[in-house]
């Protein structure tokens, strides 16, 4: 291959004046993680509520939850990013919209990116939580009712503590998806890891070094997440159950 490799490029200074390219990429990883974690908090909160509501015996609540899931699942992530970034400020009242547009970088793209990723991921979490609750035997809910618990108490004390421990492995793979999906935020100007690898390639013309470094960083991040979550899964695993492994599919 006719390509001049130069791995020393990582120690060269990047044109923005913040230090070496290596530091530039590592800061990018920081942004990736900060974006993914903030989005994950939103996703877990909304996803757990929506997922739980979709298993209740109230038909209109279920229908509302289903509508929410279908809306966020059937529009591509990048289009949702654009809706949050370009369209949302225009639909707000004028003064508020103008204020939103003037939020200085990087927060101007960080906040829409987090909201977008959070809601996008929340429907996936909702699906997992719903599947987890439905995987419990029906007798558990009935037993709760027979003991005189209200619907809320049945969920709080009987169903949810079991369901969350069961859905932990599939949630791990959803968390890795958030990390990967946060790269889409580069389209609205957030300089996270992939965005910075791309910027490095434009400044230095060292295409493959930049992307190779980003790839390695993503691989290492994945490894760390997998090991941390395995440890957590071992700790909270329901005794006597074959731990449900995550299935293949979406990204």
């Amino acid at each position: 291959m006719n390509y001049n490799w130069n791995w020393g490029i990582f120690l060269a200074a990047e044109p923005g004046g913040t230090g070496t390219y290596l530091k530039y990429l590592v800061v990018g990883l920081g942004w990736t993680l900060v974006t993914a974690l903030a989005a994950w908090v939103i996703a877990l909160a909304i996803g757990s509520v929506v997922g739980t509501l979709r298993t209740t015996p109230m038909p209109w609540v279920v229908r509302l939850g289903n509508a929410y899931v279908e809306i966020f699942r059937n529009v591509p992530l990048i289009v949702q990013m654009f809706l949050w970034f370009f369209v949302m400020p225009e639909l707000l009242p004028k003064a508020l919209g103008d204020w939103v547009k003037q939020v200085p970088p990087p927060w101007g793209s960080y906040i829409p990116a987090v909201l977008c990723l959070g809601l996008y991921t929340s429907v996936r979490v909702a699906e997992q939580v719903k599947a987890g609750i439905n995987s419990l035997s029906r007798g558990q809910g009935m037993a709760g009712t027979a003991l005189g618990l209200t619907l809320g108490q049945t969920y709080r004390f009987v169903l949810l503590p079991m369901a969350f421990r069961i859905v932990l492995p599939p949630l791990t793979s959803e968390f890795m998806n958030v990390i990967k999906n946060s790269s889409v935020a580069l389209t609205i100007g957030l300089l996270e890891l992939t965005g910075r690898a791309r910027a490095m390639q434009e400044f230095s013309f060292k295409v493959f070094e930049a992307f190779a470094a980003a790839t390695v960083i993503y691989l290492l991040t994945n490894l760390v997440v997998v090991f941390a979550m395995r440890a957590l899964e071992r700790k909270v695993r329901v005794p006597g159950m074959i731990s449900a492994s995550s299935s293949a599919g979406a990204h």
């Binding site: 291959m1 006719n2 390509y3 279908e70 809306i71 699942r73 059937n74 529009v75 591509p76 992530l77 990048i78 289009v79 949702q80 654009f82 809706l83 370009f86 369209v87 225009e90 639909l91 890795m176 990390i179 990967k180 999906n181 946060s182 790269s183 889409v184 580069l186 389209t187 992939t194 690898a197 791309r198 390639q201 295409v207 493959f208 992307f211 980003a214 790839t215 993503y218 691989l219 994945n222 299935s247 293949a248 599919g249 979406a250 990204h251």
Partner: protein, 230 residues
């Protein structure tokens, strides 16, 4: 909020959006699905093969692809394919590759990893006794796979394969990052030219929603129809 909504811009650009943009998106989705399922099945057979080296090779490829963000993979192939092309035909300089070809190669290679995991699950869902029965009848490996295991694996996995294809259809919008003119790319070009971002992006979202929702409803119905009741 719809007081200064310019419906005309959508009407004006509909020809361009659908003739150029949607054609690109749908062709890319269709070809990437076929290529992805073909290579995905090969990868699945490699992963399940008794030759450790083959299994390891396929496994590493699948895990590598699955731990990278699609945007990064698109960038990789966008820059890598010209060099690979030059290497194959022995040219000195990187060859020029059109954006469609680059996208197609990216999506075939990337989706193959995801289709592989689906096909692996499909193959593993076939009782082992069927493979033994095939060998007992004197069939060789490719006959057993081609006539007994794979047809059943495909049938069991059709709904999952199609669901993955809907995800692929949505993912093709990410070719925006290399400025390819898919449906979203076309809409964004019109949006920026006429400064009609609100109209174009809400319209794009609506079209994607209707198509994905329609397709997933079809898959759900299909799933109920072809399910084997045991």
């Amino acid at each position: 909020m719809f007081s200064d909504y310019d419906f005309d811009v959508i009407q004006r650009s509909a020809g361009y959006l659908f003739r150029d943009g949607m054609t690109f998106t749908l062709t890319l989705t269709g070809l990437a699905m076929m290529g992805g399922i073909f290579f995905g099945t090969l990868l699945a057979m490699m992963r399940l093969s008794p030759f450790k080296a083959l299994a390891l090779l396929a496994g590493s490829y699948v895990n590598l692809m699955r731990s990278m963000p699609l945007v990064l993979v698109i960038f990789w192939f966008f820059f890598l394919v010209p060099y690979i092309g030059a290497w194959i035909i022995g040219a000195k300089d990187p060859v020029k590759v059109g954006s469609f070809m680059s996208c197609l190669i990216t999506f075939v290679m990337f989706e193959a990893a995801y289709y592989c995991e689906i096909m692996r699950a499909g193959i593993q869902s076939i009782p082992r006794g069927q493979v033994w029965a095939g060998y007992a009848l004197g069939l060789n490996y490719s006959q057993t796979m081609g006539r007994i295991v794979l047809p059943q694996a495909f049938r069991n996995m059709i709904p999952v394969l199609l669901t993955q294809t809907i995800i692929l259809f949505q993912d093709t919008s990410l070719v925006y990052v290399i400025s390819a003119t898919d449906f979203l790319g076309a809409a964004s070009k019109v949006a920026n030219r006429d400064y009609r971002l609100v109209e174009m992006y809400t319209f794009v979202a609506l079209v994607y929603f209707i198509m994905s929702y329609g397709l997933s409803t079809l898959v759900k119905n299909l799933q109920q129809r072809i399910a084997i009741h045991r």
